[in-house]
Symmetry: C2
């Protein structure tokens, strides 16, 4: 009798089977296994070892009836996490000794020979945890990553990540996308965040840069006629790190030619569908589209969480009819009064509503105006100014709490966004099982500095504006919308992209609008893109997904560090290998460099 098909794939010269795939049907077979001692129990005479490999655990049994004295001695002495090779017979466990918590719990292996091939020192942190036993602190786990990665949770995360990688490539490859590799040693280009620089030994004083993304290369592939490109690309940003960022990260990078926005969005829906399916989720084939304008208007943010329905509304017209000084003067200054109605919020204490106001203030608002409707009465600073019309317009049900911010949109939106999220959290409106995908689009092209009037690109300088906006407002670029789009899930951005500028004259104008007006300067910094566009560029566009984040969401991991084999800390250090490190001055001399010492 032979092993299962999965087993035979994993069989080698040193093992016939793997631990976790043995089943009742294997009873009677003589198997050879290799693995790690996960736990062991010496019952005096009988020794039991849970042996672990990538596929799971199986119980090894040692007893005088089938193991010789030497084998018993070794089994009793072997330390946890040591690596052993063994041979024995698969036997059925008696019903009362079966372990329903283990997939291999109906059988055990009666070992006739055992060899310790990789003895282990006492582990610096436990791999096998008892029920309820807490994990070691993350810093300790990162320092001993070679042990932390033995934990089944991390192994499962990385196995899922592997599967997601394969699915991504198959999906794209099947649709005619070509995997084309771009350089890691590339030209420093100013793209907002900072480049990692790499000194050249051969060319003194000259530097390569690690790519922040393959953006220009993928556009060049389109100019060259490759038509459809993808790459699961490593990208690098030397930024001050937040908890949820890594200095190097992986993105699924996509670009296509002769397409319009909906072509890319349909592809994105398909790809996300394939990835979520691989992780066992069933999601809609189509994601609702939402304009940036609506997202900001109704949710105060450009990546709204739609798992709950609290929506912002504009109450300016209602407040305009009230004799309430605060809002009246704000409205006179051009502000709007926006707010949301929270069902059941009237039950919150004054302190609880004060906390919401503190949240709004921390986001920049001057205050949070409240109106409570409970037990048939209205309550709050606004109450005595209410007119019948206003009461009808607010339409508060008994138990409702209305919360308003009177301010310019750029202040009220982030404030109400935070208030909305906190209300949803308090009311337990967030259904963790829901997966609400949307596409947010029609972002503004530019962010205008309110004082200087200078423009910055909201997306990146290669994004095409809506043609109709350029026609309608040829000299008001601040009013142009971008052909950009983000795929958003439950308030998290999964990826984003745009239709690109394919006209070199338009691209040059875009650089000018962004303050790079000098043609020589444009050529020096972006010449290799402009040259490509001038050589005949097709209409093209693309999208990029944050693969680390997707792997994190789909594995249910709490941190990006749990889906990256060897991650860095928020201080951009790898605690395990120990990088970065000082290097000897002679090595730097070869690079024609000296260290100037730290900034004061």
């Amino acid at each position: 009798m032979s092993s299962s098909p999965e087993q035979s794939v994993l069989a080698t010269s040193l093992r016939t089977d793997t631990c976790g795939l043995l089943r009742a049907q294997d009873v009677g077979r003589t198997v050879r296994l290799g693995g790690w001692v996960h736990r062991s129990r010496d019952l005096g005479g009988l020794v039991f070892i849970d042996l672990r490999d990538r596929t799971g655990l199986v119980q090894l049994a040692f007893g005088p009836a089938w193991s010789d004295a030497e084998t018993l001695r070794i089994a009793a002495a072997v330390g946890v996490e040591s690596v052993v090779l063994c041979e024995g017979e698969v036997v059925a466990r008696e019903p009362e000794r079966q372990n329903p918590d283990m997939l291999t719990g109906t059988i055990e292996v009666r070992v006739t020979s055992l060899r310790v091939v990789g003895p282990a020192v006492t582990p610096a942190l436990p791999v096998a945890r008892g029920r309820g036993e807490k994990m070691a602190a993350e810093e300790l786990r990162l320092r001993h990553r070679y042990l932390d990665l033995r934990r089944p949770e991390l192994q499962e995360n990385l196995v899922l990540r592997h599967r997601l990688l394969q699915v991504s490539r198959r999906f794209l490859s099947d649709r005619g996308y070509l995997e084309l590799e771009t350089p890691i040693l590339t030209k420093p280009t100013p793209e907002g965040a900072r480049d990692y620089l790499v000194p050249s030994r051969v060319h003194p004083g000259e530097f390569y840069a690690l790519p922040q993304s393959p953006q220009i290369y993928k556009q060049l592939f389109m100019c060259c006629g490759f038509d459809r490109y993808f790459q699961i690309a490593r990208c690098f940003r030397d930024e001050d790190l937040r908890a949820d960022r890594q200095p190097e990260f992986t993105q699924i990078d996509i670009e296509a030619s002769f397409i319009e926005r909906e072509d890319i969005l349909a592809l994105a829906e398909g790809l996300i569908g394939a990835l979520w399916t691989e992780a066992g989720h069933s999601i809609p084939a189509h994601f609702d589209r939402m304009s940036y304008r609506d997202a900001m208007e109704f949710y105060g943010c450009d990546r709204p969480d739609l798992r709950y329905d609290l929506r912002l509304a504009d109450y300016t017209a209602v407040f305009a009819g009230l004799d309430f000084a605060v809002t009246t003067s704000a409205i006179a200054n051009g502000a709007r009064v926006r707010g949301l109605i929270v069902p059941g919020g009237a039950a919150w204490s004054r302190k609880q509503v004060d906390e919401l106001e503190a949240l709004a203030k921390s986001a920049g608002a001057g205050g949070l105006l409240r109106l409570r409707h409970a037990d048939g009465a209205y309550d709050g600073p606004l109450a005595k100014f209410l007119t019948d019309d206003a009461r009808a317009a607010f339409a508060l049900a008994d138990g409702d709490l209305a919360l308003f911010v009177a301010a310019p949109d750029r202040v009220s939106s982030p404030a109400l966004d935070r208030v909305r999220q906190e209300c949803a959290r308090r009311l337990e409106l967030v259904d963790d099982k829901l997966q609400r995908f949307i596409v947010v689009m029609d972002f503004p092209m530019f962010e205008e500095d309110p004082t200087t009037g200078s423009l910055a690109a909201v997306h990146h300088p290669f994004t095409a504006p809506h043609a109709e906006d350029m026609q309608t407002f040829p000299d008001q670029p601040a009013r142009w919308r971008a052909l950009a789009y983000d795929v958003v899930l439950n308030g998290t951005e999964l990826g984003g992209g745009s239709i690109r500028i394919s006209d070199p004259a338009m691209q040059s104008r875009m650089f000018s609008l962004l303050g790079i007006g000098d043609v020589a300067d444009q050529e020096r910094r972006f010449g290799f893109l402009l040259e490509g566009l001038r050589a005949g560029a097709p209409p093209h566009g693309g999208i990029a997904f944050g693969f680390d984040r997707i792997a994190m969401l789909l594995s249910g991991a709490p941190s990006l560090r749990d889906v990256i084999a060897f991650p860095k800390t928020t201080a951009a250090r790898s605690l395990f290998e120990g990088a970065p490190v000082a290097v000897p001055p002679e090595d730097l001399a070869e690079l024609h460099l000296t260290v100037t010492g730290s900034d004061a």
Copy 2:
């Protein structure tokens, strides 16, 4: 009537079909196409354009009977390499107007509307070449890579590369190998060649290094129990470059646990088979094994080209019986007399044989002793010293030329290797269609410095020696053979690997043998590997294939630069983007660095 399945995959909002896939069965269909103007001919009244996209060429026809005046005008004016969108009807060409050289040569598209969406400036080098027209110089092509990459030859190379990438991953993934990503920003480790260093902005005076290979990480994955790993990994070496090297290169990197050498070699045979099959070749399922010793003995090199049969032999015993001063004294000094017999070589002129001797001398030999047998007579300095026994032993046929080197093996092997290759070339023994794969194995562990006696690793310091050699010669490590192996095709190394040391004490001893005897030094440089091994390591080993080289061989390209989208020159420069470049001093100041100027 709709388009073919391939066409429908590539259809978008802007095109119904692609150019190169249109066929006679499409006659009568109205199609929309996008592409590049490859060539155009204006026959006065009639205009023909060969439109190009990724799939190939199709002829567009413009005539007053179906195109309006404006369309005709645009068609006559559009420049080559411009991008157009068009619509028209597929019609059959009259038999005498069919073009058998084009896959689409039985049809053409009668265009009713044409729009130039990406006008092109005059290309700096031609994309469409006439028959026999030479390519531009490589430097010019690299400088204008955005045009060079439009050439169908380079496009085909990169499409094949894409297919090889997908096949590699599917093959390995189907066999339980997990694709696990390793960091690019890693710790500087001394591995022979030089690291590219990356200064940290956050940690003044500290540096990351780009990986020369993921070697230590993949061994750690084995220590962690991932069992089977692969990665198509970018690697970096800051070496003085040879014509056939790139500062960044791609390798198919593989490691597995609980395996022996033959497990890895069987996997390697399967993977190579899958790749060669994808490129249309049928190759043997099994590659012959050859020991390093035999390779050196019979071919004088560790990656012999077996497409032809010329073999070296040891004639020391024969020469020992001759009264020939040169060889007698060499033999007395411990040298051997080795040589090869070249059928038909007796026909070569004295000058031609002198050229062979020059080759042998350039490889370090003192001379090349010749013995010619033609027209029943022996000729050469040796002739008059020949005994009957010697004549019988040499067994020269009429027309044979025998060539000998009397020297230590380390001199005679490379000399006779070069002579052998040149003889094969002259005699046209090399059949370009043959694919002779072999596995060379049992390399020596160490290279011993002949003067100092110090040892250097032939493979790398993580390679395991043969256990039997360590037992037989415990104190003579120079006699140990390594459990290392190379896969060789036609004299080219495709990849290599080894069984690794999994015992931390043995690994530590290996470092000592290689001159890193100080334990603190070992820990500082290799601590994160030693820690992993000490935590319980399984028997493991692996292999790595040079993916760029495989893609080059399978696409028939003459250079690695023809299978890399954006390659660097031998001076490690990217001529197109322009990297490396000087960066402003303020950017360096942020990295706490100053440039010291070039070495004198």
